[in-house]
């Protein structure tokens, strides 16, 4: 009974309280999700600016609440560990958090178009968000020129994100809810 109630509320965006201690199952699950996000990104590296990370970040945000940030920042840690920390990826510390927070705000929405639009808009704004780092390191003129030069890549990123989320977000969200119902993972 408890399990089925949890599933219904989870599909509508209710998640465990953030101040509860992390269980061993959660630790393993978030580790798996973070590593899977990194592996999926590597597997799709041949497709320029078409990535699964935005989809994964939105999924963990709506499925696991703020605790899903463990998976997100494990992915960020893996990026830093493998590629090193540079101007091009230091923005990962806040860009994924911005998408995560936006997904939390919209967690009760069920229209696939809304999730596609959120992911797509994030892709379009990705360069602008990352340009904040260049604003701090090289001034606003450098940041703006860097951002504008990358707009074609942002357009590709936005279109890719829109399609990926439109097709996969709701089925995977339901799949994660089903997984939690079956295995009682929080």
């Amino acid at each position: 009974m408890q399990s089925s109630c949890m599933t219904v509320t989870n599909m509508r965006g209710s998640t465990p309280p953030a101040n509860r201690r992390l269980t061993t199952a959660e630790l393993a699950l978030f580790g798996l999700l973070g590593a899977m996000t990194f592996a999926l990104k590597m597997a799709m590296a041949q497709f320029p600016n078409i990535e699964p990370v935005s989809l994964m970040v939105m999924l963990v945000a709506v499925s696991f609440g703020w605790r899903g940030l463990y998976a997100v920042y494990l992915y960020v840690f893996l990026e830093f560990a493998v590629w090193g920390i540079g101007l091009w990826n230091i923005a990962y510390l806040y860009v994924w958090l911005a998408l995560f927070a936006a997904a939390r705000l919209l967690r009760r929405m069920e229209s696939p178009l809304i999730w596609a639009a959120l992911s797509g808009c994030f892709g379009l704004l990705f360069g602008g968000l990352c340009a904040l780092v260049y604003w701090i390191s090289g001034g606003w003129a450098f940041a703006v020129s860097w951002w504008v030069a990358g707009i074609p890549m942002d357009l590709l990123h936005g279109a890719g994100n829109f399609v990926v989320a439109l097709v996969l977000f709701q089925p995977l969200r339901r799949g994660l809810a089903s997984f939690r119902r079956k295995y009682g993972a929080h």
């Binding site: 320029p48 929405m109 069920e110 229209s111 696939p112 178009l113 809304i114 596609a116 639009a117 959120l118 797509g120 808009c121 379009l124 704004l125 020129s145 504008v148 030069a149 707009i151 074609p152 890549m153 942002d154 357009l155 936005g158 279109a159 829109f162």
Partner: protein, 132 residues
């Protein structure tokens, strides 16, 4: 119509508007090209310090197109445009010895790749074999 669909359509419209806005910003940022014949010169400074000078008359609009057509440069297309690997028959290999071709336009370092440099009549371009 259900609110769900209305919200979805509104969100998709917002995405399209944002994409169009970005496209417009990018288009506006592109430098204006100059039509008609132009005369430009290109100087190449090789690794051994020798120089070679070339003069061209062209109707093309971009330096990269001109120099590739003339066979002076070659390279590979990357995410950020043409990456020049050979100039006047001399190749560079950044991974081996950090060598690369530096481009200047009228004495100042180019701010874009050669394929995005707009040709103007009387322009002077220079390639320098550079390491580090």
């Amino acid at each position: 119509m259900k609110k769900k669909y209305l919200y979805g359509i509104a969100a998709a419209a917002l995405f399209c508007l944002l994409a169009l806005g970005l496209w417009h910003i990018w288009q506006s940022s592109l430098p204006e090209t100059a039509a008609g014949e132009k005369s430009v010169t290109v100087t190449v400074t090789h690794a051994d310090g020798t120089t070679a000078e070339f003069a061209y008359h062209t109707d093309l609009e971009y330096l990269g197109d001109l120099l590739q057509q003339e066979g002076l440069i070659s390279g590979s297309e990357g995410e950020y445009g043409l990456f020049v690997e050979t100039v006047d028959g001399e190749p560079v290999d950044y991974h081996r010895d950090q060598s690369w071709w530096r481009l200047t336009c009228n004495g100042e370092d180019a701010t874009t790749g050669a394929d995005a440099v707009v040709l103007h009549d009387g322009d002077q371009y220079a390639w320098f074999y550079t390491t580090g």
